[in-house]
């Protein structure tokens, strides 16, 4: 099966619809949404409506820190722009949408594959798995041979041998469109990159395609109308920085 894995959508409707249309053209048959469905962007309701339709059709969903912040709490661990966006998002959500977000699990495990927003090690602590040490702790916290995560907003692939005593973790920056065979003797941790707010200097939306039968993993980049997404952020009165960064990908 061709599984499309989308992380960190951040209420960016233009990016989400562009990625879903792209995935459909690539033959995606299943979907996984790795959290941070809302927060930062100006279209939480429209994005949630689309994601809920996929959830009803069997898509995998997990919760992100921005989804949690949109429900409750003071967001004291967030930067000021993120906190402001979270409080704004909270005012926009209906009771049904809040219930939907509140029902999202921290992790989902399916056929030896773990789906999580941040780290498999204490997922509720929202650690950034951005280096080999964090990746090693994340891999050590689960027996799953493959982990899909988001949160970092960079496409990255960590891997380590299964053999006891030789589990050193190495990192690899994947090339767009270049399929990586996930060999069976190794454990893999794939960061999908961000749909709605890429931060690797490339403003194009990022998502992952996984061919489960052939175990081929391919990172995709989809150019989308970030100007409309930025204009909506400005029109909503959200912090200017959230609009500005979309066109530059930081």
């Amino acid at each position: 099966m061709n599984l499309a894995i989308l992380a960190d959508i951040h209420a960016n409707l233009e990016a989400l619809t562009a990625c879903l249309a792209h995935a459909e053209r690539q033959g995606a048959e299943g979907y996984a949404f790795l959290g941070d469905l809302v927060g930062y962007g100006a279209d939480p309701e429209a994005c949630l409506a689309i994601i809920q339709r996929h959830a009803a059709a069997g898509a995998i969903l997990v919760r992100g820190n921005h989804d949690e912040a949109a429900l409750a709490g003071l967001g004291l661990d967030m930067n000021p722009a993120a906190r402001e966006a979270a409080l704004w998002t909270r005012t926009r959500l209906s009771a049904a949408e809040r219930d939907f977000l509140a029902g999202l699990p921290y992790t989902v495990e399916r056929d030896g594959t773990l789906f999580v927003h941040a780290s498999a090690e204490r997922p509720q602590d929202w650690e950034y798995v951005s280096d080999e040490r964090a990746a090693r702790r994340c891999l050590a916290a689960t027996s799953a041979s493959l982990i899909f995560a988001g949160h970092v907003h960079h496409p990255l692939l960590f891997h380590s041998l299964r053999e006891p005593g030789r589990e050193g973790v190495a990192a690899f920056v994947p090339q767009t469109g270049s399929a990586v065979t996930l060999t069976p003797g190794r454990r893999w941790l794939a960061l999908a990159g961000s749909v709605g707010q890429p931060r690797d200097g490339n403003p194009a939306a990022a998502y992952l395609l996984f061919d489960t039968a052939r175990r081929l993993l391919t990172w995709q980049r989809v150019p989308y109308d970030w100007m409309s997404a930025a204009a909506k952020i400005r029109a909503a009165g959200l912090p200017e920085v959230l609009a500005q960064r979309l066109g530059e990908g930081w």
Partner: protein, 459 residues
């Protein structure tokens, strides 16, 4: 590719047991023979064993063409991971090298097959990194196939083999100096190995022997091997030039691509022989000291990916209609060529003209006239190129003979691994209406990009 099952094959028995992996023979439902490869996973095996097997799983899944073994299925069962590989029939270069020193024409023929296969591999963004004579098999159909990709490096995939090892990865007889220092991923490392193989075919021995000792490996970073002609006086200077160029210590002094090596091996008469080809003995201690010092200077060149290196070394074919006498078109072609090669430091150009055999046979049987036409064409090609003042080692001239000019040009482009064809439009002459456009057929049939050039018109 992956996903197929071992149940589709019948196990015939063991084929060969190597240090890193075991091979078994399989038969499919159609009676075709295949090989099953399983890594040695037992405790105490070299750490690169398993990573090498994984590398093959990853890289072979991405490769296509007759230059590599097909890999129809891979997977994992209770005995561990496995790969089904094409069992390539044919003779390995190792078997042929037993009779070395071989005549130079035979060395050139085998080297050309190797260079063709290597270029096809590098074009797919993969460096072999362990190119030994035993890993080159000549198929009965005539092409060379490369096997054993356990140390290979794909420019777009994680380097699993490299990550598992801190020391040099490769075979002492053929390993390149930069590989000895742990640098992986440069396609010119394979050209060094190709040079070591040619050296062996031409002289009967390897340039630096086969010792795996530190001195055996590291000597090649500073010292030259004895020139092939010192070991086998029958080795012509052009072949020594080619071999020593492959064996240059610094990658940037070797051929920039396997295609450039292939072109030289296909046309020995056009190899520009310099001091290197005539050299009676290896450079001495002074040269070694200078290299030792140079190695300590900061790296001038960036690490390259195979595909990136090839992109900087385009092979351009210019097809020239020597009958046209259209000076404006000739100048427009020269300008187009200047623009095409301006950005890429390692370009090579081949200029071709096409001679119609009907001109030769109908008028006279004598070979003298044919030679006359041939010479006239060659002179015209040189005349076209003269204003460009290109360095002679970068440009080749060929007169092709054939009634079908488009087919001749396309065929030459294929043989030369051309990345780009440049040719003039014939304009709206009566001849064009009668014969049809050569350029449109070349555009349709070429294996690469084609630019059709027109002169700027006054109106």
């Amino acid at each position: 590719m992956t996903g197929a099952s071992l149940a589709d094959y019948r196990l015939l028995g063991p084929f060969r047991a190597g240090a890193m992996a075991e091979l078994f023979e399989l038969e499919d439902a159609d009676g075709q023979r295949w090989l099953l490869k399983r890594p040695r996973l037992a405790f105490g095996n070299h750490p690169a064993c398993y990573a090498g097997f994984e590398t093959e799983q990853m890289v072979l899944a991405r490769l296509t063409g007759p230059q590599v073994p097909r890999c129809p299925a891979q997977g994992e069962d209770e005995q561990g991971p496995w790969l089904v590989l094409e069992r390539i029939p044919g003779t390995s270069l190792e078997e042929l090298a037993a009779a070395a020193p071989l005549p130079s024409t035979e060395v050139a023929r085998l080297g050309l097959l190797l260079a063709d296969a290597l270029h096809a591999l590098h074009r797919q963004n993969v460096v072999h990194q362990d190119l030994t004579p035993a890993h080159v098999i000549l198929r009965p159909e005539g092409q060379a196939a490369l096997i054993d990709f356990g140390l290979a490096r794909h420019g777009d995939l994680p380097d699993l083999a490299g990550a598992e090892s801190t020391g040099p990865l490769g075979t002492p007889a053929v390993i390149a100096p930069e590989q000895v220092l742990g640098r992986r991923g440069d396609p010119r490392s394979d050209l060094y190995a190709a040079g070591a193989i040619l050296y062996r075919l031409a002289t009967g021995r390897y340039p630096f022997g086969t010792a795996a000792s530190a001195w055996g490996l590291h000597r090649r970073r500073w010292f030259d091997p004895p020139p092939p002609r010192a070991l086998n006086p029958a080795c012509p200077p052009w072949l020594q030039e080619v071999i020593l160029r492959c064996l240059a210590v610094r990658p940037e002094r070797r051929y920039a691509s396997a295609a450039q090596l292939a072109v030289d091996l296909a046309h020995p008469e056009q190899v520009v022989v310099g001091e290197r080809g005539q050299r009676p003995r290896a450079g001495g201690l002074g040269l070694a000291l200078r290299r030792w010092w140079a190695e300590r200077q900061p790296e001038a060149s960036q690490a390259v990916k195979p595909a990136g290196q090839l992109a900087r070394a385009p092979q351009v074919l210019v097809a020239i209609d020597t009958q046209s006498h259209d000076e404006a078109l000739a100048e427009a072609l020269r300008l187009a060529l200047r623009r095409l090669i301006a950005l890429d430091p390692h370009w090579r150009v081949t200029c071709v003209g096409v001679l119609e055999p009907s001109l030769l046979t109908e008028q006279e049987e004598s070979g003298e006239l044919a030679r006359g036409f041939h010479t006239a064409q060659l002179v015209a090609l040189h005349h076209w190129a003269r204003p460009l003042a290109l360095p002679p080692e970068r440009i080749r001239f060929h007169v092709l003979t054939g009634g079908d000019a488009a087919a001749c040009i396309v065929d030459q482009a294929r043989r030369d691994h051309a990345d780009h064809i440049l040719m003039g439009a014939r304009g709206s002459s009566a001849l064009r209406r009668f014969l049809g456009s050569v350029s449109s057929r070349v555009v349709a049939e070429a294996p690469c990009s084609v630019t059709v050039v027109r002169p700027l018109s006054g109106g």
